[in-house]
């Protein structure tokens, strides 16, 4: 461990430089935790020192390249994502992203843990860990994601590290992430990794059908003709898009989610005359396609993982007729919610589940709940969780979890604006509300006015409780509101600071700024400060230092109290 003592000293020196340099560059040493947020024109020397550190750690195999991709938005830029290892075991959440231009480092973001002293030979086997998890949650960890060894930093930042097994298992209403001490078998940590819409609660057989959405609006639907019927399988897009109809069978839905049974063609939503009338299926299927299109056209992204992984959704996971007998957790998840399960579905590639809503004559808290797939922003929101999983993998709790949710809201709103011209029959009016098309009146969140739903619009109002994984949904409105202000401009209610947004006509600028920051610059354990630095860096990279975009995003973060 002695080499890392030297590294720590080096990092401390770099951190001192960082404190003295411009505000957008941060290199902070918290005990043995090194936070990198360096880039731009104002911190060149700091950036070079941090870059040297990353190089040295790379040579020592402490940092290992996990992914590298060319930037589709800024030609000539490349993004590399490094994961930190300790004696060959990955350290949970420890990552660095490095942006380069023709080999020269432009920015570095991430968190490194230096000076770790933990044994990496487990006393327990993988099978032991599996059995413990089965006992804990009465569940079976997904076969595609068996428990794996990781070094887990203490979440309180006390500098304590443990060798643990990490595993995920769908428990019926939750996708639990378990961390089992590899020596004692104790449950060290667990959290719900289910990304929900709101808290608690060219081919031969291709065909184009005509569908009616949840709101009765006409849509084209890309399907597959098999025999005398048409299946909700879109093969026209580079990523196959599947919509499965669970036909209200909750048990079947649960079996599919926990991997007990596989999905077959017979489960696909289908129609005999290619004039689709089931709005939930139509909107889920079309919405996934439009989300793919948005990611492709706006960001040059090839699907959820960047390489056109299949896109899968489940509709009608429960039957509305069963609502009277449904337990509260089922009601909250499968009726009044939508979620993305990153390890569910065929081959564990993930799938989105869209809630059934409520019968028209049964309001909930004064709102009518229709099929949740009927809201494109909800569909795109859930799929954006997959994008996050495949990129920054923002940890789904506390501030990183709120950023995870905020990014999904940003993509949800962006997709809604992108698709607005494609709607017919008066449907699909774009706005900054989430879910307003099916949860009426009003939706469930507002990026323009978070207070409308009791969500914080300033960092001083940050929810600090344990519920909802540390308030990931409610706190997401702080960055979400910053996104709104950066586009539309306006004055923050709490700070009174006014933001000159880039304007709705330049919405695309801010969409790219946030997308790029959240997918290639930010790291798994990012906090709001890192998000601020990364989006500013992104704006500089895309539109230049001092650009209107950089000014807008800087002012927006400041206005919501994130500095």
């Amino acid at each position: 461990m002695r080499p890392y003592t030297r590294l720590l000293a080096c990092a401390t020196a770099v951190a001192v430089v960082a404190v003295l340099t411009a505000s957008t560059a941060q290199l902070q040493n918290r005990s043995s935790v090194l936070t990198l947020a360096a880039g731009g024109l104002s911190s060149l020397s700091e950036l070079r020192e941090a870059d040297s550190l990353v190089d040295r750690l790379g040579r020592d195999r402490v940092l290992r390249l996990a992914a590298s991709e060319d930037d589709p938005l800024v030609p000539g830029r490349t993004h590399a994502r490094f994961r930190q290892y300790h004696d060959g075991v990955p350290i949970f959440g420890a990552e660095v992203t490095r942006q380069t231009a023709r080999g020269v480092t432009v920015s570095l973001f991430g968190t490194l843990h230096l000076g770790i002293d933990v044994e990496t030979t487990p006393a327990l086997s993988t099978d032991d860990a599996t059995r413990i998890i089965e006992r804990l949650g009465n569940v079976h960890p997904g076969g595609s994601t068996p428990p794996r060894l990781v070094v887990l930093p203490d979440r309180e930042g006390t500098g304590v590290y443990r060798l643990v097994y990490e595993a995920r298992a769908f428990t019926g209403t939750r996708l639990m992430a378990y961390f089992i001490d590899a020596s004692t078998g104790d449950l060290v940590w667990a959290y719900d990794d289910l990304k929900t819409q709101q808290p608690a609660l060219p081919c031969e057989r291709c065909a184009v059908g005509d569908g009616l959405g949840v709101k009765g609006d006409r849509k084209k639907i890309s399907v597959t003709a098999v025999g005398g019927t048409f299946l909700a399988q879109d093969q026209l897009r580079p990523a196959d898009v599947f919509t499965f109809d669970m036909r209200g069978d909750l048990l079947h839905t649960l079996d599919v989610l926990d991997g007990t049974v596989q999905l077959f063609d017979a489960d696909l939503a289908n129609d005999t005359d290619n004039r689709w009338l089931d709005g939930a299926s139509v909107d889920a299927h079309v919405g996934m396609g439009w989300t793919y299109d948005y990611l492709y056209h706006r960001f040059g992204r090839q699907g959820l993982n960047g390489t056109n992984v299949r896109m899968i959704s489940l509709v009608h996971p429960v039957d509305r007729a069963d609502i009277v007998t449904a337990p509260a957790d089922i009601l909250g998840l499968f009726y009044l919610n939508a979620f993305y399960c990153g390890t569910c579905g065929p081959d564990g590639v993930g799938l989105a589940v869209f809630g059934e809503g409520l019968p028209p004559n049964v309001p909930f808290l004064g709102q009518r709940w229709n099929f949740l797939s009927g809201a494109l922003d909800i569909v795109a929101h859930e799929l954006a969780h997959a994008v996050t999983d495949f990129t920054s993998a923002l940890l789904y709790m506390d501030e990183s979890g709120a950023l995870n949710e905020a990014f999904s809201d940003v993509i949800g709103v962006g997709t809604e604006y992108y698709a607005e011209p494609f709607y017919r029959d008066g449907a699909g009016v774009a706005d900054y509300l989430l879910g307003e098309d099916v949860i009426e009146p009003g939706g469930i969140r507002s990026l323009a006015d978070p207070q409308r739903f009791g969500d914080p619009d300033h960092y001083s109002l940050l929810f600090v409780g344990m519920e909802d994984n540390g308030g990931v949904h409610t706190n997401s409105l702080i960055p979400g509101h910053a996104y709104y202000l950066a586009i539309e401009g306006g004055t923050n209610r709490v700070s009174g600071l006014t933001v000159s947004g880039v304007g709705a006509a330049n919405r695309e600028q801010m969409e790219k700024v946030f997308y790029r920051a959240f997918t290639v610059l930010m790291t798994r354990d990012a906090d709001f400060a890192e998000a601020r630095a990364a989006t500013i860096q992104s704006a500089r990279d895309l539109y230049g230092a001092g650009s209107a975009a950089e000014q807008a995003v800087t002012q927006a973060w400041t206005a919501v109290g994130v500095n």
Partner: protein, 267 residues
């Protein structure tokens, strides 16, 4: 031919005939030919090109796609021949036939709906070549014949025509999708349907005949050469027909200006 055009053609024909007959009194002073029968055989040219267009609409991707084919009927060769009988003084009636054939292209502009979105058509351009146009006309003519000199005869004529037209029409277009995002597609071909129709039209023209062959040294040895001459016919034939292709009607204009020359025989 539409009823309006037909009425116009009839009115023009009646007007011309009335003009000719009305001038008969004055024409009594005009020298009339002595021959009763005239036969002629011509070849020549239809110099002016003309255009027409067809539009077809078809369902695709839950919307209506369409293509428009713009046809240009180029100049082409004409063969004609006929006979006329002098009835009274300068007035004669004739019956003759003309044949026209050309091979032409059509420019195709298509609008194909997007597979994912309504009201977002994609436009392609293409060309269909080798489209054949044939017109066989039977023309009835009323002629006013003036023998200006013993070797120069001029006649004006007008009358109805019966035209049998055959036209190759673009029946469908084929495209190849480039693939996602389906913003563009490639025009890859077309099918052609040959359509035929018969319609009534009208004709009018002027014929200038010279009979000087018997004065040529190498021909004057033949006794009949006084009855053989050369002529130039300037004639305008007009007609229009609706051709059906699928459920769509295509209005096709027929005829045009004909300049032909050939032999004249009088008996």
């Amino acid at each position: 031919m539409s009823s309006r055009r037909w009425r116009g053609a009839v009115a023009l024909t009646v007007g011309l005939v009335a003009g000719l007959v009305g001038s008969a009194n004055e024409a009594t002073a005009q020298p009339a030919p002595t021959d009763r029968i005239a036969v002629w055989l011509d070849f020549g040219w239809r110099p002016a090109s003309r255009t027409f267009a067809s539009t077809r609409v078809f369902p695709v991707f839950s919307e209506l796609g369409s293509f428009q084919a713009s046809y240009t009927i180029e100049q082409g060769g004409v063969f004609a021949g006929g006979v006329s009988f002098r009835l009274w003084r300068n007035l004669a009636v004739g019956l003759d036939a003309s044949s026209y054939r050309s091979v032409n292209p059509a420019q195709i502009t298509a609008e194909l709906p997007h597979p994912f979105f309504f009201d977002l058509p994609r436009t392609t351009m293409g060309e269909a070549g080798g489209l054949e146009r044939q017109e066989l006309g039977i023309h009835v003519r009323a002629l006013w014949v003036i023998q200006l000199t013993n070797w120069l005869v001029v006649s004006a004529s007008v009358g109805p025509s019966l035209i049998n037209a055959r036209q190759d029409l673009v029946a469908s277009v084929q495209h190849t999708e480039v693939g996602f995002p389906f913003d563009e597609l490639i025009f890859s071909g077309h099918t052609v349907s040959g359509q035929s129709a018969v319609t009534a039209g009208m004709n009018s023209g002027v014929d200038i005949d010279v009979f000087v062959l018997d004065r040529l040294p190498f021909l004057n040895r033949f006794a009949g050469m006084k009855k053989v001459g050369l002529g130039l016919l300037i004639r305008y034939v007009r007609g229009s027909v609706d051709m059906q292709i699928g459920d769509d009607l295509v209005q096709v204009d027929l005829g045009g200006l004909q300049l032909t020359t050939g032999l004249r025989f009088r008996f």
